[in-house]
């Protein structure tokens, strides 16, 4: 029999309902796996009590015949979601010890749906990073290793690196993520799991520590497409507390999953064929095209002419918003306060923020402050919002011709920790394929599609029309079924 911890959401839910195991058995199994995987550093705090309480409630619910959609399913929660009574840090010193008195809408929905929480997952500090090397709580390590016999610790991707690492290592069945410029999709690709960023506005941002408001979007990370659909369904929905939340019904994504793509058109944007792309990724992309053709789709070449400007646009808008969003961390109402002897208020701010933010966060705050400052606002910010409009228009035009787009998720497989952290710009370039969809607010997901020559996972990205998560999930399912991705990392971390 398969170990409980090998199961994903659907497997756990269905097995629990069928009486194969109790929710408490599930919780105990995962709590044990979490406790035994410290080497991954995937968690900032572990919350076995929460998982057990939810499990006991699920067992009672099953006995009473009152099952909820996620009864029996424990989850990992990215430590960017505020959780009432549980420390929420955004992986920063700034919020060390911060215990919210309130619950984010997304976690509230998940808990109301019966899910339990195994712990708060590590991430790049304030979700700024692509390798999980900016956390104040240490790097997360990917469970994957290269097949060269070396033991180089690899990046799990970022910023949702705790989520990706924990799912890939099968210490959580699924997890929440957030995606601002690729923070769900790139780590999913790096670790051989599925991850979906829905349409901007699908998931409430209420209670999620903000990075860049016009880009931040919560989403689901899981072993496969079906689990992603189940989890996203439970996370989504209109929230009057978030002005940018979309007041639309949540479709039954899981029930409507179908890998039959007859009558669908898949666009292949030529601008995603970048210089220096590893041939393996190019080959995988071509393979993906064949898989979708095989699923009945018609393949159409399309153009998204402003793609190459997406990254610089993103690196104006996201830091600008961040510089303002992070102004609230001032040592007055919560979090770290650094008050040097004799310091006045403004000096306290400067000392607190110097001590509380890591180098990458500071870098982005400074860039954001600069691009908004007097005399530069139009040249940078207004210009970027205009280019962003053009990028969004590119997608609109493409979606007049096709239903979804297929691209690689990332320009490389996972790199080693430390390999790119010296040059921020080089790190930023890693998000080249994921950032455009974030700027346009459209849904996109990464599905594991194969391994590279070093035995590391590679992902393909499907981008869909606004609100057409179903189209994205269905195309993802078609790839998943044909890719037959079953590779798993060797367990070197458990003890």
């Amino acid at each position: 029999m398969t170990a409980i911890t090998d199961l994903g959401i659907a497997g756990l839910r269905d097995g629990f309902r069928a009486g194969d195991f109790s929710a408490r058995e599930i919780a105990d199994a995962f709590n044990g796996a979490v406790a035994g995987a410290k080497a991954l550093n995937a968690f900032i705090i572990e919350t076995p009590d929460h998982a057990i309480a939810a499990a006991e409630a699920a067992d009672r619910a099953r006995a009473a015949g009152e099952l909820l959609p996620l009864s029996g399913v424990p989850l990992g929660i990215k430590d960017l979601f505020c959780t009432a009574g549980y420390q929420t840090t955004a992986a920063s010193r700034m919020l060390g010890g911060f215990t919210p008195t309130y619950e984010s809408t997304v976690t509230a929905k998940l808990f109301a749906a019966g899910a339990g929480m195994l712990g708060k997952l590590n991430l790049d500090q304030f979700a700024m990073g692509s390798s999980n090397e900016t956390s104040a709580f240490g790097n997360v390590v990917s469970p994957w290793r290269r097949n060269d016999g070396g033991n180089a610790a690899l990046a799990p991707g970022g910023s949702s690196g705790g989520s990706s690492s924990a799912i890939a290592a099968r210490i959580v069945p699924a997890a929440t993520g957030t995606d601002t410029g690729g923070s769900i999709r790139q780590p999913a690709a790096f670790t051989g799991i599925a991850g979906i960023k829905p349409t901007y506005g699908r998931c409430s941002r209420f209670g999620i520590v903000a990075f860049a408001s016009s880009l931040d979007q919560a989403g689901a990370m899981a072993q496969d497409v079906r689990d992603s659909a189940i989890l996203l369904e439970a996370m989504s929905g209109f929230d009057p507390k978030d002005s940018t939340s979309l007041d639309v019904a949540v479709p039954q994504w899981e029930a409507n999953l179908s890998s039959d793509l007859k009558g669908k058109k898949v666009g292949i944007p030529k601008e995603y064929r970048v210089d220096n792309m590893p041939p393996e990724i190019d080959a995988l992309w071509k393979q993906g095209i064949e898989w979708l053709r095989d699923a009945g789709a018609e393949i159409v070449d399309v153009s998204l002419p402003h793609t190459r400007y997406a990254l610089p646009t993103y690196y104006i808008i996201a830091p600008a918003e961040a510089s303002s969003n992070l102004a609230r961390y001032d040592g007055v109402r919560y979090g770290l306060r650094d008050l040097p002897e004799g310091a006045n208020l403004q000096e306290m701010y400067a000392a607190t923020r110097a001590a509380g933010f890591g180098p990458e966060v500071k870098r982005r705050i400074l860039i954001g402050t600069y691009v908004l400052s007097a005399g530069f606002y139009d040249a940078y910010y207004t210009k970027a919002q205009k280019v962003r409009a053009l990028i969004a228009r590119d997608f609109e035009e493409a979606f007049r011709q096709v239903d979804v787009l297929l691209t690689p998720t990332a320009p490389s497989a996972a790199f080693a920790l430390g390999e790119k952290s010296a040059d921020p710009l080089e790190m930023y370039l890693n998000d080249v394929f994921t950032v455009p969809a974030s700027l346009a607010g459209v849904p996109a997901m990464s599905v594991p599609a194969g391994l590279d020559g070093q035995g590391l996972p590679l992902g393909l990205q499907i981008i869909g029309r606004p609100l057409d998560e179903q189209g994205v999930l269905n195309a993802g399912l078609a790839i998943e079924q044909r890719a037959g991705f079953t590779a798993k990392p060797q367990n070197w971390w458990a003890k």
Binding site: C82, Y102, P240, S323, S373
Partner: protein, 494 residues
């Protein structure tokens, strides 16, 4: 144009004034959170997690605040922007939890409008003037810092944090402290008519930033300074005067005016530089990405227009035209919405056509009622006499039951007891009498007691007639109908 000039060593200087008024919007809840906007709560009790800028908290705008601002804009004859948006003004201060104030810079809710200030010779305003309003926008108030409760610490209270304000920015159209004072009074009157702000400057629900510059008449504008947060009309006028004089002194002394933020010190009647805020000038405004553009539907705008009450200028014109009131009465009655409301309730209570009773009613209100309220130190909405009672009193005068003198007497008793005038007249027998027999009897007594004066009168000393009227009225306890007394006295004295 105002003739207000500052006499400097080098000649006359003209003062150029613009005002930015912050008016607290009347609403139950705050602009972006569901916490109460009311004054007077315990520290940090009217604070939501949104107002405290907890991580992940998000703003959702309050419809009533937008409605109030739109109505105010309409009352200023201003263009309502159906598409506007909120921007963040970024700076660090302990009373600003988010590290930014949500305001509107690039696309305000309300565009250009006007405020008319009336001629006021006493104040040196020769003729009515139209002052331009540049814009009106909605923004959040900040919290409060208390400095005197601890020797080394300041305390932060966020109760005011996030309360809705309207910022109403004038054009630099005013030329004297009096004009600035008149502008503020008129603006306050309009805000109270609309009901969008209580205009209470003492409680801080209306405060002004004063932009002042000076120039030689005919020259281009000089460099201006901004004196922040002046909290009474008197202080605004004094601050302008002192700041304008300071600027003249600086320029004539060979210096230049620095564009800066200043603070008015009423105790010393001077402005001083607020250098502490200088480095905060780069506010890095950008559209708030937590909010969407505010798009007003045609229905919403139409509804705001429908809810707009008759405004002071229109009301005054109507009082003068339709009701036939003298200009002075119309101006006094309409300057404050509570007075106009009371007056109209008074007219209603008479049950007669307005034009018929308005003049007597307005005279009584302005002289008798205002006199009494002044004496009692009460506002009109605290009047111990109701409009209905006032109307009853006016009716008793109109039908001859009370003479003017008696009416005053009855009114005093009304103020004291709160009783209705008819009851007072009844109980105290204060009814005016036209009983010719009784009056004639008294006249006979008066004449008998003053035979010498009767002789003098008859000898041609006409002026003594008034003496006999007075004596007769006195003997009748003031209750005799003065017309009848006159008539009968003339007859008796021959």
């Amino acid at each position: 144009m105002s003739s207000y000039r500052i006499q400097g060593a080098t000649g006359e200087w003209e003062v150029v004034i613009g005002l930015e008024v912050h008016a607290q919007v009347v609403s139950n809840a705050k602009l972006f959170s569901g916490a109460s906007a009311a004054f007077g709560a315990q520290p940090n009790q009217s604070v939501s997690l949104v107002d405290a800028a907890m991580p992940g908290m998000l703003p959702v705008p309050n419809e009533e605040c937008i409605r109030q601002a739109v109505k105010t804009g309409m009352a200023l004859g201003a263009e309502i922007n159906r598409w506007s948006r909120f921007d963040r003004k970024n700076y660090f201060y302990a009373d600003l939890p988010q590290g930014y104030q949500i305001s509107q810079l690039y696309h305000p809710l309300v565009g250009e409008g006007t405020i008319t200030i009336d001629a006021d010779e006493k104040a040196g305003i020769a003729e009515a003037r139209t002052i331009g309003v540049e814009r009106l926008h909605v923004e959040q108030d900040a919290g409060k810092l208390m400095h005197d409760q601890h020797p080394t610490r300041s305390y932060v209270d966020l109760n005011r944090s996030g309360v809705a304000l309207m910022e109403i920015v004038s054009k630099p159209d005013m030329r004297s402290p009096s004009e600035a004072g008149a502008y503020l009074r008129k603006l306050r009157s309009i805000l109270r008519y609309v009901g969008s702000c209580d205009g209470n400057m003492e409680e801080g629900s209306m405060r002004a930033d004063v932009n002042v510059s000076v120039r030689k008449p005919g020259d281009p504008f000089g460099t201006r300074t901004e004196t922040k947060n002046v909290n009474s009309i008197r202080f605004v006028m004094a601050a302008i005067e002192s700041e304008a004089n300071r600027q003249v002194d600086v320029i004539e002394g060979g210096g230049t005016i620095v564009q800066e933020t200043r603070l008015y010190d009423p105790d010393r009647n001077e402005t001083r530089s607020m250098r502490s805020k200088e480095d905060a000038h780069d506010y890095r405004y950008f559209p708030d990405p937590d909010l969407l553009p505010l798009e007003l539907s045609e229905e919403f705008v139409a509804q705001c227009r429908a809810e707009l009450p008759e405004l002071p200028d229109a009301k005054r014109a109507r009082y003068e035209g339709e009701l036939g009131l003298p200009a002075y009465n119309a101006a006094v009655l309409t300057s404050d919405v509570e007075t106009a409301r009371w007056f109209e309730a008074l007219l209603d209570a008479t049950g007669k056509p307005g034009a018929e009773v308005a003049r007597a009613a307005s005279n009584w209100l302005i002289s008798d009622l205002f006199g009494a309220l002044n004496r009692l130190g009460k506002a009109i909405d605290e009047s111990p006499v109701s409009p209905k009672q006032g109307a009853e009193l006016l009716a008793l005068v109109a039908d001859g039951t009370l003479s003017g003198t008696l009416a005053k007497q009855v009114f005093e008793i009304m103020l004291e007891t709160g009783d209705d005038p008819a009851k007072i007249v009844e109980e105290r027998g204060l009814k005016q009498t036209s009983d010719t027999g009784a009056i004639e009897a008294v006249i006979a007594e008066v004449m008998a007691a003053n035979a010498d004066k009767v002789a003098e009168y008859r000898g041609g000393k006409d002026k003594l007639f008034g003496f006999f009227v007075g004596q007769t009225m006195k003997a009748m306890g003031g209750k005799a109908n003065p017309g009848v007394v006159n008539e009968l006295l003339k007859k008796a004295l021959g």
